[in-house]
């Protein structure tokens, strides 16, 4: 894992003191809320329905036990004993007091964490593949490039007042576990025929009220030129992205309006200039950073078999454990989706326990996934049973990864000032309706995603089944979407028709999945059945 040097540490420490002064200026009245708002947002601090909310960055979703324990400490000391892991691989605390935030940020800085640029119209936390460094199918570890981008984007002088927020994702495998093409810039590291690493760059994806899948803008950027190419992408956006309408200000709208070819040409022209400015760090800097992401000290004698004699354990292995590039090891996903629970929430005690288990079983490393779960990336197969037992004792062994109850849900109207409808109670009702694990396994991979408003933090456009909460004459109403995907087969869901109330939408989902069961072929996923038969049989079953 990356470790700060004195430069990194000084920047984060300085930021804490800068924000401390800004908070003092706000509390004394020197700053109005209008003036303070962009400053607090640049430090991840929102004013939500019940309190301030602090979003802490977890760069590319990677953290160690010491950092995880600090999150538990913040939850316990400054919040109400829990935190919420988000679809941006960050964590949010829901009950923060403004006057405490400088102290919280100071504590986070002691473990190399911050809330810089977790909101605001700037380059946000860089996201990545939660299996980076461990996945059997990756070309290279994407995290050194993500870290390089993190540093480049921090306080970028030209790109701190963009037309709108800007999200970058870096992956390095053909299987897309990070919704790469639904980012403003999605980068897939690849190798060309000569064996050199480079980047395929997709620009202009996103969710929100106008969802778009990013088109490929350049198929191979030599890796040493990546930052200058991204700089050119951003400069064209900063100059020409729309600023007249907040709903049309994301880069996806610019690219949609001028066309991918025109945008590509403008970026090429800008890049030809920008490349001459010496903005790209030398290879030595990449190698310095990459050194922090060297493989852990694997036990080469670790047995490559799993004792499956405990049937409940075997079910968890089948669902939540994935292949590893290192023989004898596996990648274990800890579900934060217990049936009836709050998707993505973890108590301080659970966070501490996961930290302990990471230390004991996963070379002191954890990952946060965009599906709001936690990954232990380096577990000896021989340790899986002990790990599972420890998780089970803390309510963390739900064997539902990628099943219908592994629901992505935004905080919704229970917490969020932008929301139109509640997401969490609906997630709970759906999970309870499908509580039978046998039934869930029969339904197979089924990604259900709920957003409480059109901003789509719950990724509803990318759900195999998506739900969008809207306000219908003062009452909560839920629209149903089918056929979305955030994976390598990215697609946007289609709305089935008129919306439902809270009980009606649960019934509609049940009819949807029963239709799937009736028409699927052997081994066919819900998404593939939908793509084969189209929306008509589902509409017929739901509204017919």
């Amino acid at each position: 894992m990356y470790k700060y040097d004195s430069y990194d540490q000084t920047i984060v420490d300085t930021r804490v003191e800068e924000f401390r002064e800004q908070v003092e200026r706000r509390l004394s009245g020197e700053l109005s809320e209008d003036q303070f708002k962009p400053l607090r947002l640049m430090n991840g601090l929102y004013l939500q329905l019940h309190a301030y909310m602090l979003r802490v960055a977890i760069p590319y979703g990677t953290l160690d036990a010491r950092q995880m324990r600090m999150l538990a400490h913040v939850a316990r000391t400054y919040d109400k004993g829990y935190g919420h892991f988000t679809t941006r691989q960050n964590i949010q605390f829901n009950w923060i007091e403004l006057k405490d935030t400088p102290d919280i940020l100071a504590e986070l800085a002691t473990v190399e964490m911050h809330a810089i640029q977790t909101s605001g119209n700037c380059i946000r936390n860089i996201s990545s593949d939660q299996f980076a460094g461990a996945a059997a199918d990756e070309v290279t570890d994407p995290r050194p490039w993500a870290e390089l981008l993190r540093q480049w984007s921090t306080f970028h002088p030209e790109f701190s007042y963009l037309p709108r927020k800007f999200k970058i994702c870096v992956i390095a495998a053909d299987e897309d576990r990070a919704a790469m093409r639904l980012h403003d810039i999605g980068i897939q590291l690849t190798r060309n025929e000569a064996g050199d690493v480079g980047a395929a760059v997709y620009v202009g994806g996103g969710m929100g009220r106008t969802p778009m899948i990013a088109p490929l803008i350049k198929d191979f950027v030599p890796i040493d030129d990546l930052l200058s190419y991204v700089e050119a992408c951003l400069r064209v956006y900063n100059r020409y992205g729309r600023r007249d309408n907040i709903y049309k200000a994301r880069i996806k709208i610019l690219i949609h309006e001028i066309g991918a070819d025109s945008y590509r040409q403008q970026v090429e022209d800008e890049w030809a200039h920008v490349k001459t400015l010496g903005l790209d760090p030398p290879r030595a800097e990449f190698e310095r950073i990459a050194g922090f992401f060297a493989p852990p000290a694997y036990d080469s004698a670790a047995p490559d078999t799993i004792d499956r004699s405990d049937p409940d354990f075997a079910l968890w292995v089948d669902q939540n454990v994935k292949p590893h590039k290192q023989p004898g090891y596996a990648i274990a996903t800890i579900s934060l989706k217990p049936v009836g629970g709050i998707p993505g929430d973890a108590t301080a005690a659970q966070i501490d326990l996961m930290a302990d288990l990471a230390e004991r079983y996963s070379f002191d490393e954890l990952r946060v996934t965009h599906a709001q779960n936690i990954v232990l990336p380096y577990v000896r197969k021989a340790d899986l049973h002990a790990l599972w037992q420890a998780l089970d004792g803390a309510g963390l062994a739900t064997a539902n990864l990628d099943l219908i109850s592994d629901i992505i849900a935004c905080p919704g109207l229970d917490y969020c000032s932008l929301a139109n409808a509640r997401s969490i109670p609906l997630a709970q009702k759906i999970a309870n309706r499908f509580a039978s694990m046998e039934r869930q396994r029969d339904l197979g991979e089924l990604k259900l995603k709920i957003s409480g408003c059109i901003n789509a933090c719950g990724h509803h456009h990318a759900g195999h089944i998506g739900i969008l909460g809207v306000d219908k004459r003062g009452a909560e109403n839920y629209q149903l979407l089918l056929g979305g995907s955030g994976a390598e087969d990215a697609s946007l869901g289609n709305i089935t028709g008129p919306g439902f109330d809270e009980d009606g939408i649960v019934d509609a989902i049940e009819r949807t999945v029963e239709t799937y069961r009736a028409v699927r072929t052997d081994g066919e996923r819900f998404l593939d059945t939908y793509r084969r038969v189209g929306i008509a049989p589902f509409k017929e079953a739901i509204y017919g």
Partner: protein, 141 residues
């Protein structure tokens, strides 16, 4: 208009800035004002006879002027580059990094706060238009 905060040693330019259209239509002006939606590159053929370019920041959220500043400096402009408008103390360090060497805020800024804002960060991660070496260059001396 208040006196600009200047970070140059030459004398302040006296000639009023003309609009971009007026500048491109006449040959003798030496000061021009660029609105945030105007293309800084239109000035590149004329930089050698410009002594002042004033870039408008109509609202602090409008960040186009940061790109304009860098583009002009990258093209070799060495005259006065002025940020005018909704220029707030929390943004001036970014403006200085993008090549602005004079500031004309709509509302006066506290001198001590300005000094603190400009000296706060010892080091920066990126190469920009102010000549500061990025941290990666310091690391690899």
């Amino acid at each position: 208009m208040a006196d600009p905060l200047r970070y140059r040693t030459d004398a302040a330019h006296e000639e009023p800035a003309v609009t971009l259209d007026a500048f491109l239509g006449q040959t003798n002006a030496t000061a021009v004002r660029l609105e945030s939606d105007e293309d800084a590159r239109a000035l590149i053929p004329h930089l050698d006879r410009l002594a002042l370019i004033e870039v408008s920041f109509p609202g602090f959220r409008d960040g186009r002027g940061y790109s304009a500043g860098r583009i002009l400096r990258e093209a070799g402009y060495t005259g006065e580059l002025r940020a005018q408008g909704d220029v707030l103390v929390d943004q001036i360090a970014l403006m200085r990094r993008c090549g602005f060497d004079s500031l004309v805020p709509d509302k006066p800024l506290d001198a001590a706060a300005v000094a603190r804002a400009l000296s706060r960060y010892d080091a920066v991660y990126q190469k920009a238009a102010d000549g500061r070496p990025p941290i990666w260059a310091l690391r690899h001396g």
